[in-house]
């Protein structure tokens, strides 16, 4: 159950335009934002940052890799809500369910390119506490990515630094779509909805 009340659709209505980009990215209004909406400026600015992080330019890393990086960071931090969301979002961008499920064993899986492995290894180290990234990790990244792309990679990991704390702290209830994705593709890795169970299901 959410530890802070979520705003309902009627309460969210004045914020509909603000939340639209997230709704488009995910296919639904995430409950995380129904809580952020207690402070309207916060949910508005959060969406601006999200757009900037996910913005694809000519020099960008592939969009699907951004969500796989977010998934690896969320795995390292242990946020089950974010794992389901980023897994579902990777899948929506064309990453096979099997490949999403293999992110937790990317080092030994043959589904990932060397560039992807380098980025996922980096995400895992950067999301650990204490931080585990080394100069050698940067040297390895530079074999595959430009400085611009490295900044993009760290921006994704950092945005999920916000979201991992946000959702794991609030025990944000998971929505139907990511629950379905998680149960179908991630449960073999031990993923479960945990404390992010929806109020309805609990009642």
């Amino acid at each position: 159950m959410s530890r802070v009340r979520m705003l309902n659709d009627q309460e969210l209505e004045p914020l509909n335009d603000i939340i639209a980009p997230s709704k488009e990215r995910l296919g639904f209004v995430p409950n995380s934002q129904r809580i952020m909406a207690h402070k309207p400026e916060l949910v508005a600015a959060y969406n601006e940052l999200g757009k900037a992080v996910m913005l694809q330019t000519e020099g960008s890393i592939p969009g699907d890799l951004k969500y796989m990086i977010a998934n690896a960071a969320s795995l390292a931090a242990g946020c089950l809500y974010c794992q389901a969301h980023t897994g579902g979002a990777s899948n929506m961008r064309g990453v096979d369910g099997d490949k999403v499920a293999a992110i937790y064993e990317f080092e030994t899986s043959d589904l990932f390119s060397d560039a992807e492995k380098s980025a996922l290894r980096f995400a895992q180290a950067a999301a650990a506490v204490p931080n585990m990234t080394t100069d050698a990790d940067f040297d390895d990244l530079r074999k595959h990515f430009t400085d611009y792309q490295i900044v993009e990679i760290v921006s994704v990991i950092s945005m999920f630094g916000f979201l991992n704390r946000w959702n794991d702290t609030l025990a944000t209830p998971l929505e139907e779509e990511p629950i379905e994705f998680g149960e179908k593709h991630l449960s073999g890795n031990g993923w479960n909805v945990g404390k992010h169970v929806t109020t309805e299901a609990a009642e």
């Binding site: 207690h38 400026e41 946020c79 931080n131």
Partner: protein, 201 residues
């Protein structure tokens, strides 16, 4: 060693005109933002988020408390760059240096009110990996804060969730201002610039 180069004023050009208020407030543009400037949209986004989190309404908690919470959060995550910055910002917002130095022992220090202790305990638990926040922590928070204020407290913990990963990953070089503050105020608690020691030009 700098892992990705912070851009100079010249390299950033006109794109940082909107940051004038930040630069005036701090007296410098943080290196964390000079690295973000490689993707200008990102620099805009993080400043918008920062402004929103610091936006004050009648119901808001004080900026001083927000920075104390950001400091406790950065201590739990171990980012020395962010500890120095948030400590300096708390001081700038009117919190005593002695109090900032006592955050690492807030549970037993008599410099903190019970409401502050509850918020700092929350920051510490929410910034741990794995996350250590319990329903009991929320029950304690709700004795002192409204839902709106809890969202504010968690928003600064989230912001430092961004900054802790960002700066600890890049080993962002610490600027003279926050470095001086931290050496003077936090040196006794074991704080060092570590990998954030700026290369000597």
């Amino acid at each position: 060693m700098t892992r990705v180069k912070p851009l100079t004023d010249e390299e950033m050009g006109d794109s940082i005109g909107f940051l004038k208020p930040t630069i005036e407030r701090l007296g410098f543009l943080p290196n964390s933002q000079r690295i973000m400037a490689h993707k200008p949209e990102l620099l805009v986004g993080i400043n918008e988020l920062y402004k929103a989190i610091m936006h004050r309404t009648e119901e808001s908690v004080s900026p001083g408390l927000l920075y104390l919470v950001g400091n406790a959060s950065s201590l739990a995550a171990g980012c020395m760059y962010c500890v120095a910055h948030s400590g300096g910002a708390a001081n700038h917002s009117g919190e005593d240096a002695a109090k900032i130095a006592a955050i690492h022992e807030f549970e037993t220090s008599d410099l903190f009110t019970e409401a502050e202790r509850v918020a700092l305990r929350f920051a510490q638990a929410a910034s741990s990996v794995p996350n250590m926040v319990t329903d009991e922590d929320f029950a304690a928070l709700k004795e002192h804060y409204t839902d709106y204020q809890i969202v504010e407290l968690l928003s600064i913990i989230g912001l430092y969730g961004f900054f802790n990963r960002w700066n600890d990953t890049f080993a962002t070089p610490l600027e003279d201002g926050p470095k001086g503050f931290a050496e003077k105020t936090l040196g006794g608690t074991g704080w060092t610039a570590g990998k954030h020691a700026a290369a000597q030009d």
